[in-house]
């Protein structure tokens, strides 16, 4: 019991837990669309772009969030524009744009006297969660929630069939760009807890687990948000007690949940198949 109660005696953990719940829920909700749109690479790409933006912003003494927001917004818009060019798909667009921004950041760090705590930035650090981080996470979570409530049907329609959605009157280009910007906002809000290298997994695993257990998009969303929050909380406890960075801890908990779900659903499917075979044999004999 102490294992569960003790961490809450520390203010930093309470802050991290609140941020973790918000970040886990946001990543879980977005992961549904990221998995269905087969854009798993976007989280990876945008988080790399953050490094470039943050490095440049710190060099100019502008603060972490200014750089992160600027670089992810630029990356999201460019990914959208480049990906619309005939013959280029989203994966190529993400690969080119975000890696270029990452390279720019590395170049800036190597040339200017910038002091960046790369470990915390890459892997997350629950000790470093500030009130400002909580405000950013809360604001993005509120915005994401409102967007999903207002444009849920539009997002589902565009994800299922963008061509017909456009013909039927939905502004698909604006929807897709808005979605990329939402992913960018969630990536920025997740840096402190997850770290830029591990955000990619957090925006894929919950949706993938939801996909394994349900064939209804509403249920998948509920499962993904639950998994996102659950893995973030369990991962933060593990991070606290094992004294390891929070990002890897959360992602590993998610990976274990995925393996367990995969195994369970595979076993259930095999069991159903066995039952059908038995019933077929009995009916023919």
């Amino acid at each position: 019991m102490d294992l569960l109660v003790e961490p809450f005696g520390y203010t930093f953990f309470v802050r991290a837990a609140v941020a973790g719940v918000l970040v886990g829920g946001m990543c879980g909700a977005l992961s549904v669309f990221i998995v269905l749109r087969r854009m798993s690479y976007i989280g990876h790409g945008l988080s790399h772009a953050v490094v470039g933006g943050v490095a440049i912003a710190l060099a100019l003494d502008l603060g972490l969030y200014v750089g992160a927001v600027a670089s992810t917004v630029v990356a999201a818009v460019l990914v959208d524009r480049v990906g619309r060019r005939r013959g280029l798909h989203a994966d190529a667009s993400i690969g080119i744009v975000t890696t270029a921004l990452f390279a720019l950041g590395v170049l800036v760090v190597s040339r200017l006297p910038v002091r960046v705590n790369l470990d915390a930035m890459l892997f997350g650090n629950i000790l470093a969660v500030t009130t400002q981080d909580l405000l950013v996470s809360g604001g993005v979570a509120l915005g994401l929630g409102l967007v999903l409530l207002r444009w849920w049907k539009t997002l589902v329609a565009v994800t299922f069939d963008p061509d017909v959605s456009r013909v039927h009157g939905i502004r698909t280009a604006a929807t897709e760009l808005s979605f990329n910007l939402l992913v960018a906002a969630v990536v920025v809000a997740s840096i402190r807890v997850l770290g830029v290298l591990l955000i990619a997994a957090a925006v894929v695993i919950p949706g993938a687990i939801g996909r394994l257990v349900s064939r209804s998009i509403g249920t998948i969303l509920a499962v993904a948000v639950g998994v996102g929050v659950g893995t973030a909380v369990v991962g933060l406890f593990a991070s606290f007690h094992l004294n390891v960075p929070s990002g890897p801890s959360i992602v590993l908990v998610g990976a274990v949940a995925f393996v367990l779900t995969y195994g369970t659903t595979a076993a259930v499917s095999a069991g159903r198949l066995r039952q059908v075979r038995l019933a077929t044999r009995e009916s023919t004999t």
């Binding site: 005939r86 849920w152 299922f160 959605s165």
Partner: protein
Amino acid sequence: MASLNEPPAVDLAGVVAGYGRAAVLEGIDLRVDSGELVGIVGPSGAGKTTLLRLLTGEAARYDGRVRLFGEDVTARPPRRLGLVPQLGSLDWDFPLRVRQAVLLGLAPETGRVPWFSRPEHRRADAMLDRLGILEYANRPISDLSGGQKQRVLLARALVRDADLLLLDEPTSGVDIATRHDVLHLLGELNADGITIVLTTHDLNWVATHLPRIVCLNRGVVADGPPTQVITTENLVLTYGAPMRVIHDGASVVVVDEEPLVGRLPAAPSDAV
């Protein structure tokens, strides 16, 4: 039937269109009146899909006029248009139930809450009933047969009260029974006053059943009733290959000029 004052459902005049710098269609003149059922045939690369994309505002128009119901086609297609894409262009493992997929046709005009209203559900169910798949309303779309999937796409287009349907290869990848099914369904919808323009590779299907055919090969080669349009000369101009046309009463059948059977060695006989 169209009235004299009503503008045509589809009106193309002197259209040159394509993608990038390459013109795929040149000098297209085509008029489809309200209530018509028209099949567009032609070889791969003839511009059939481009013609549909022109009507939906997706293909670039370099010259000419494109109007639907008297209005110029812009980047925002008219409200009365319903598009039915090829079955193979969609991810049928997408986690949707049949009713949900049909309701998505109402997504552009629905309220600001994340669920559809009761009247919208009733509209979707009425359309599913009309198309004979109401009993599958709660099934995942991944569980449907080809014909049922085709009906779901038709229901999604029609639930928004579209009165012009564009269908891209509706018989592509479906078996003979499903093809027959789709044809009769389209016939019923057309009898209810819906204008239908479809593209297909299936020459005999349209030659046998549709009242009007347009042979397309970058331009309109022939346009009219099958008995007039389906001639050896027109087919050579359209497909670039000789075909034999057999007249069977009011319908026509097209066969290859040089069938392979008879020119290959005979199969070994069982009676040896």
